[in-house]
């Protein structure tokens, strides 16, 4: 790694001002940052470790507000939480697919979101569940839907100095069913070729979010429209799967061709919906 200065701010305000400097990088889990610094994909003149800041750690649940995931909450904390498995099953499924146990002990959920990889596993379930981010920056605090956070691969609406302090995921209405299916070339330590998250509220709405098939995680809105308030019949599921295929905009890369990805969007969307009815 190239030389950088290192800071451990004790408050959020201090972190925000340190991060406003050019080439300042935020360090929470570090599992993406250190790789990118070593491979010189990213430059850091200054690294700001936010782990000493009080009040941004851990998970908390409340029947009204839902699940709060703090900036320092690791993927492993989410993975082993019985509450997450019970109420946020698709998020729990996606986290098991992220890296290895060693990585998950360091990597944070918010880091996975802020890295804004089109193939990130945790993002489709969070969007399907209607999650929001709380951002603290020079201009104060603001909240934003996770869905509106991404601009492109590796790009978000965050400005220099911004820190995402928490993600809030609304409580599931009674009877809600959720699933995340990841498709990869191997079972472990793999980036998704295609990921599909579905949150199904019977009699109300079904949200379908596709990963790794567009520059940002993508809601399959036409497919959702077909299913709104309806019972998931074979015929309707087939139509929704086709709609999702038409909405996807995949590229070809080392992991799969665009044609293959499109085909898999149909297969996985159908499979996900069949398992939720």
């Amino acid at each position: 790694m190239r030389r950088f200065t290192y800071h451990e701010p004790a408050t959020l305000d201090e972190a925000v001002s340190l991060l406003a400097a050019p080439n300042a990088q935020i360090l929470a889990g570090g599992t993406d940052l250190l790789v990118e610094l070593k491979e010189q994909l990213r430059r850091a003149d200054c690294v700001v470790n936010i782990k000493k800041i009080p009040g941004i750690a851990g998970l908390a649940y409340d029947d009204k507000a839902g699940l709060r995931i703090g900036a320092l909450a690791t993927a492993r904390e989410v993975e082993v939480s019985p509450l997450v498995l019970d109420k946020y099953r698709s998020l729990a499924q996606s986290v098991r697919e992220l890296g290895s146990i060693q990585v998950r002990h360091r990597a944070t959920i918010i880091g996975n979101v802020c890295r804004a990889s089109p193939s990130a596993d945790t993002i489709p379930p969070l969007i399907a569940d209607g999650a929001s981010l709380r951002i603290c920056g020079a201009g104060g605090e603001r909240t934003l839907k996770v869905e509106d956070f991404f601009l492109g691969p590796g790009r978000t609406v965050l400005k220099p100095g911004d820190v995402v302090t928490e993600i809030v995921v609304p409580p599931p209405p009674p009877g809600t069913r959720k699933i995340y299916i990841k498709h990869g070339r191997r079972k472990a330590m793999e980036l998704a070729t295609v990921g599909v998250a579905v949150t199904h509220v019977p009699g109300a709405e079904t949200r379908i979010v596709l990963g790794a098939v567009a520059p940002t995680p993508l809601r399959a809105r036409h497919a959702e429209d077909l299913l709104r308030g309806k019972r998931l019949t074979d015929e309707l599921i087939a139509k929704a799967a086709q709609a999702a295929v038409a909405e996807s905009r995949p590229i070809s890369n080392v992991r799969a061709s665009a044609e293959y990805r499109r085909e898999m969007v149909g297969v996985l969307t159908r499979r996900a919906l069949e398992q939720l009815r």
Partner: protein, 155 residues
Amino acid sequence: MTTIALTINGEARELAVEPYRSLLDVLRNEAGLTGTKKGCDVGDCGACTVLVDGKPVNSCLMLGVEADGSEVLTIEGLQPAPNRLHPLQEAFIRLGGAQCGFCTPGMIMMAAALLAENPSPSEEEIRFGIAGNICRCTGYTKIVEAIQAAGKELA
């Protein structure tokens, strides 16, 4: 340079480290403990796995300065007494869980963490547990058997 104070294998140490050095480099160079191996250096292979405050991590993906105040356990600190091996080390030797040996320290540290949480894991649980540790020699079967055997002994 920053001075960090940490416990490595039960021993209190103070080390002067540059902030841009990984914990892996600090362990191997500043602390002189070369049992922990550097394979890929980007968190894919698991050869650098150590326990930090009881949790298995890739020491290549952590800064040395982040270990300030923590307790680090490396393969050198696993044996219960000098001249006595840990049951995992015994089982890896007895059952052929190591061939070239490069992945073995990381594999054993990950297995130690796994058995601490779940003393009698199924084959599937072991394979899930060591998914982040790559071995190019054994084909994993003997590693899985060794971890299962050690688990029985430790339980």
